[in-house]
Every structure is written in structure tokens, then in C-alpha cells.
Amino acid sequence: MAHHDDPSYPADPLYQAREPIHPKAIHGRFRRFKDLVLLLAYGVFFLLPWVRWERSVGPDQAVMFDIPSRRYYLFDLVIHPQDMFLLAGFLILAAWLLFFVTGLVGRAFCGYFCFQTLWTDVFMKVEALVQGDRNKRMRLEKQPWNGEKIAKKGITVAIWTLIAFWTGFTFTSYWADAPQLFVNFFTLEAVGAAYITTGILTATTLLAAGFAREQVCIYMCPYARFQSVMFDKETLLVSYDAGRGEGEAGRQPLHKGLMTLEERHAQGVGDCIDCNLCVQVCPTGIDIRDGLQLECISCGLCIDACDQIMTKRGWPTGLIRYASEQELETGEKPNLLKFRTIGYGLATIAATVLLLYGIFARAPADISVEQVRQPLFTMLASGDIQNNYNVKINNKLQEPLAFDLTVVGLPDARVSVVGDFESLELPADGSRKYLVHVRAPSDAQVDRREIQFILTEENGLVEPLEHDASFVFR
């Protein structure tokens, strides 16, 4: 319903209805780069769950986030709940990397790597395939709903839904054994969470990449709001060289007397021929010639468009190009080794080193010793004192371990494990709790002694594990 015709509706609506953007397809180096990234990202995302990886314990899937068993499997790296801080490390690294890249080349993340960009890009390709390029799509948009429009729009949405569904299903298969999930899913035997997750992902993908598109970037995305604070005068941005394009008398379309650069320059007219191709190819539908805008996702397609026109005319390319604000003002090339870049760079390197250190320095096994507190101590028939301890051992390795237990700090202590186990055995990637009795002759000198539990792996597979505890006499 057109609100504009309704007199009872506020003259200034709070929300403006979205006007569909139909970007024109373009060829060029940035388009090629985008396609490359797209191929890589889609390849990794869609194929990774299907890569098999033999493990002695756990699923034979290269990448799997196993919630029920509380393990994240990444090839040979198995993340246990205790190592969850690595996730924080990874997020910190991702943040610094984003800052570093943004400080250097602006919103490159938005233009080439962001999921929203990648999926919207594919959805637009589908649109172009079914409905034709910009002009045909715009005509179809204006056309009343007839058989052709219903068929074309219907096929488009159907393909979108298929892609969205497969996206959702692929995401879900990272959290379960993919081939098994595939079978269970379509025989309706998978768990409810699988259907809910796939359903939500399908719906949001369809909505975000099919219908909301640039609105996600402009209104919903938090990065759009704060990435600009990482810019400075030397940050490389997709920029329109207004000095060259506008000249002194502004931009002028090609017409008689303004066909060559010499003619134009003689009349003070700029190089921009106002062909609007840069506007037509923009996925967020902006005019880069209006200067730096929040809506610009730095995808560089307008550069491709402009370069194409300039090449056709035989004029130098780069009227729209990656250039810093400073370069446009003074012609000075940006200094890549500026303080901000070095800072972000160092932070990125530091985060990477810390993350790698965190991964390689993970404890292969850990123990906790918890004294049984009720009762703290017991007098035995012999007059000796007994304290009990719950010793819990986690084995994070993919092979079984066997530990010898010794207790130091207590003279004449006798240690026995419930079940009379000689060694504390642990299955690969498993944990066990042992109840340990420690007995010592009554000591009139002290109420308690600090003792230490030492677990030595029998085959020397891990460093000895130590844990402090205390022994209570009375």
C-alpha cells in the first residue's frame, strides 16, 4: 500500500520503504578478487564438515563442535572445556586483525570477506541468472504481477531457499557427524535442535541475503558504525578523485565539443563523464562521487566500472581508486608504516603468538585433589589417622595414561586407592575420579600438615602432575 496517497498517514514516515537495488554486473580486477574470495570461502564452509579425520577417540570428522561430549575438534587440535580461553584468544586476534586491516585499507572486511557480502553476492548472481541483468530486473520490478514475473521471481526465491537451506544444514553439520546427520535429517530422525538450527539459519540467510541485503550493512551492522573510527587521513579508501573528475566546471556527459580529454580540460570540465555506471554497479546503491559514506562497503566494484569506461575512452584509469584522503588533498602517497598500523600490527602479532602459545602449552592432563570434608579425619583401629581425598584426573590426550601416585610431606604416610589400584589408569581423552585414603600415625606436634600429591606418568608421556593439599590430624 502506498502510504503517500493516504492522507491519514504522517507526512514524514518514520521508516522509508526500501527501494530495491539492482546492481549491474561488472568485470574487473576487484570483481575477480571478490569471486576468488567467494570461491575460497564457500569451498571451505561447505566442504569442511565432510572432511574425514581418523581419531582414536572421538568423531572421525576433521572439524566438529561436539557439544554433548564438550569437545571442539579441529583436525589434530582437541579443545576441552578447560581450554575455552583459547576461544577468547581467537576472538581477540580476530578483533585486532580487523582493526589492522581497517586501519590500512578501510572496510575491506565488509567488501570481500563478510558473510553478508558473500551470500548477498551469490543471491544476486542467482537473480541475474534467472531474471537477467540490471535493466531486465528493473523492468520486471515495474511490471504488474503476471505469469512471467511470478515464474521468474518464484524460481529465484526457490533457488535462494535451496542455497539458504544448504547453508543452514552445513552450519548444523559442524555440530554433529555430517554424513550421519544427513541421513537422520532426511529420514526425520535427527534431534529437534538440528531442525531448529537449520530452520533458523535458512530463514535468516534467506531474509538477510535475499531481501534485506544492504539494509543489513547500513542499519543492522555494528561494524558499519565503528569501523570509521579506525580510519585516518592515510587509510586507503575507495575514493572518487573529485579534483580530476570535476575539474573547475564540474562533470559533464560526453557530447559534441567535450569528447576528448583535451577539449574537456580546455573548458575546465573534469574527466567524469557522468555515465552513472559506478552508481549502477554499487551493491548498496550509493554514489561514490558524493564522498566517503557510511554505506560504502569498500567492495571496489565502482572502481572496476570507472576503469572500464576510462579504458574504453583511452583515458588513464584511477578516477575512482583506492586512495587516502591525504592523497586526494595533497597528492602524497600514504605512509604504510604509520604509528597506527604498526600498533595494530604489533597487537595482531602479539595476539597470534599468545594464541599459538596457548595452543601448544595446553596441559595434556590435569588433576584436582579435593579433600573429603565430612569427616575431615578419622581415627583408625590402629590409632592412625586417615584422611580421604577425591582425586580427579583429566586426560586430554588421544592415548591412555597410567599414573603412579605418591604423597610427599607426611612422614610414614601410607597411601591406598579405593579398589586397590596400583596405578591410576585413564582412558584416552577421558577423566576418572579416584577415592584415595592417606593414613599416618597420630602426630602430637601439629594439627595439620601441608602435603603434596604427585602423579607420575608411567611411560613419561606427560610431565608429573602436582597438587597441594593438607592432612588434618585433629
Binding site: 491519514s8 583408625l380 583401629a381 590402629s382 586417615q386 591406598s416 579405593v418 579398589g419 576418572r432
Partner: protein, 306 residues
């Protein structure tokens, strides 16, 4: 009431004018609000159909959503009950068929089919039996014996030490859990002039007092009437639950509580000898399943160790 002029594009008003120029907008409700309202209506209708909702007379609409679970009837046969949706039935079903309930069943099945020796040798089964035993202990035993089995001197035996009045084998413990215990020592008629010596003699068995000469022989003589149960050397008798008087553990007479005060220790023992002991533990056989009793026995037995 005058109709204010309404230029095109202006918001419609109710037509009321107060104070000459105050007008009230006549905005419709926001569309999202209206739709949300419709959705709640649809939701409630679906809810009425699925779940118990409307009361009538002394009953209520049951809804078509049901919960199924199995119960054991009076004849011992299992039958499936299908009830209208309610959280109590959900809970019952969860206790029978949730993943954790199934896992528990599997482990209980393992314990059922293994001997005590086999359980002891398998760390995982032992761990399961110990923790199940721990919970059973909390439910049935802790009220008297204390949460950690430490007991209460004079009232309830300490289960966390390594002395077993009736024997330490698993079979004995299961037997005692199932059938209960009647603990009894008759009050003794020890003459006034020898009871002090008897008490000191008993103390000397565990090294708590030194006694020599005539007093010692008087005490030993008087102990003859105790030896029937506690044995000639006071080492006790598991067959009747008579405690070992020669070890460091005191279950009834609070000898350790007296510290170095020998007179106090003597009084404690005299009191027990003169008044006897009446203790009883109820039978739990009809409250615990066989497997529960077995796991409880393992837990209790291992709490103190050998």
C-alpha cells in the same frame, strides 16, 4: 465541536478541540502491534487445543497433547500410561527415558551383573557404584550416621573408620542393610568394689591406662563375665557384633573425649558396664532394591577402607 482543517498529509485528529487549540491525534495502532495481537490470539487457540486450559464443573479441558510413561502395577507388570500434558508426568517420563536416565539404567545393569570383586577391579563401575551409593547413603543413612558416615559416639557407629562390628565383607554389610541390626549389651551387675578395677583393666587393653598388681588381677577376674562376648583378650566377636576393646576406636564410651583424665575414662566405661547398650538399626530391605543395597555396601565399605 468544530472539525479542524486537515490539510493533505496532516495526521487525522478525533475532531475534539479543547481550549481552542488542543486536538487529539487519531492515529491507528502501529501495524506491528496489531499483528502481534493477532498472533497472540492464534497462539492461545493453539495452546487450548494442545494443553489443559479451560475449567468446567469439577474437571477441565485436557488438550490433545499427551505424555506417555510406564508404571509398575500392583501385579508387578509394567504398563504404559498416557496422561494429559502436565509437568509431573513429564518428570516421570524424564526419569524413565531421558538420556541421563537411560545412561544410569545402563550402568545399574552393569552393577547388577557383576560380582563385588569384578566391580572393585573396574574403575568406572566402581566410581559409578560409589557415587550412586553416596546418594543412597544421603537419603537413607545420613540422618543417623551423618553425611560422611562419621556417626555419633554412644548412638550411631562411625562408618568412616576401618572397624566393622559385624564383619567387613560386602555380603555381611548388604545383609545388615537389608535386615537391620539389634545391638544389645546387657547391664552388668559388677560389685562396687571391683568395677573401678574392671574399667581400668578394659582401658589397659587398648593402652589407655596402666594397671598392675592386685588391682590388675581383680580387674581381669571381673572381665571373665565380659569375655563371653568380647573374648578372653577383649578382641571382640563379629558373630554377635561385640566390639574389639583392644583397638583405638571407641564407639559407645567416649574415652577419647576425656583427654588425659583417667577418672573420666573410668566413669565412661563404668556407665556402659552398669547400664548396658540398646541400639537398633531398622531393616532397609523393603525400601532398597538389591542393586541399591549392593552399591550402598560398596560405598560404605570403601569410605573407611581396610
Amino acid at each position: 465541536m468544530s472539525q479542524p482543517e486537515n490539510k493533505k498529509g496532516q495526521v487525522e485528529t478525533t475532531g475534539h478541540v479543547w481550549d481552542g487549540d488542543l486536538r487529539e491525534y487519531n492515529n491507528p495502532l502501529p501495524r506491528w502491534w496489531l499483528w502481534a495481537f493477532y498472533v497472540t490470539i492464534v497462539f492461545s487457540v493453539v495452546y487450548w487445543i494442545l494443553y489443559p486450559a479451560w475449567p468446567y464443573g469439577d474437571s477441565y479441558t485436557k488438550g490433545i497433547n499427551t505424555v506417555e510413561y510406564t508404571v509398575e502395577g500392583e501385579d508387578g507388570e509394567e504398563k504404559t500410561v498416557s496422561e494429559h500434558w502436565n509437568t509431573r508426568a513429564l518428570f516421570t517420563r524424564d526419569m524413565q527415558s531421558s538420556p541421563s536416565a537411560l545412561a544410569q539404567k545402563e550402568w545399574v545393569g552393569k552393577v547388577e551383573n557383576m560380582s563385588f570383586e569384578e566391580i572393585e577391579q573396574d574403575p568406572d563401575t566402581l566410581q559409578f557404584a560409589m557415587s550412586m551409593g553416596n546418594y543412597t547413603f544421603g537419603d537413607y543413612c545420613a540422618a543417623c550416621h551423618g553425611a560422611g558416615g562419621q556417626g555419633k559416639i554412644g548412638l550411631f557407629p562411625n562408618l568412616a573408620d576401618n572397624a566393622w562390628l559385624y564383619g567387613s565383607s560386602y555380603e555381611t554389610i548388604v545383609n545388615k542393610i537389608n535386615n537391620g541390626i539389634q545391638g544389645m549389651m546387657p547391664a552388668q551387675n559388677v560389685p562396687e568394689d571391683t568395677i573401678d578395677d574392671l574399667a581400668k583393666y578394659v582401658l589397659s587393653l587398648s593402652g589407655n591406662a596402666e594397671i598392675s598388681g592386685e588391682a590388675a588381677s581383680r580387674g581381669k577376674q571381673a572381665f571373665a563375665s565380659c569375655a563371653g562376648c568380647h573374648g578372653a583378650e577383649g578382641k571382640g566377636n563379629e558373630a554377635m557384633g561385640a566390639p574389639n576393646l583392644a583397638d583405638a576406636i571407641w564407639g559407645v564410651a567416649d574415652v577419647p573425649g576425656c583427654g588425659d583424665d583417667t577418672a573420666c575414662k573410668v566413669d565412661e566405661i563404668k556407665h556402659v558396664v552398669n547400664n548396658g547398650i540398646q541400639r537398633q538399626m531398622p531393616a532397609f530391605g523393603d525400601r532398597l532394591t538389591e542393586t541399591q543395597a549392593r552399591m550402598l555396601a560398596i560405598y560404605v565399605r570403601q569410605m573407611g577402607g581396610n
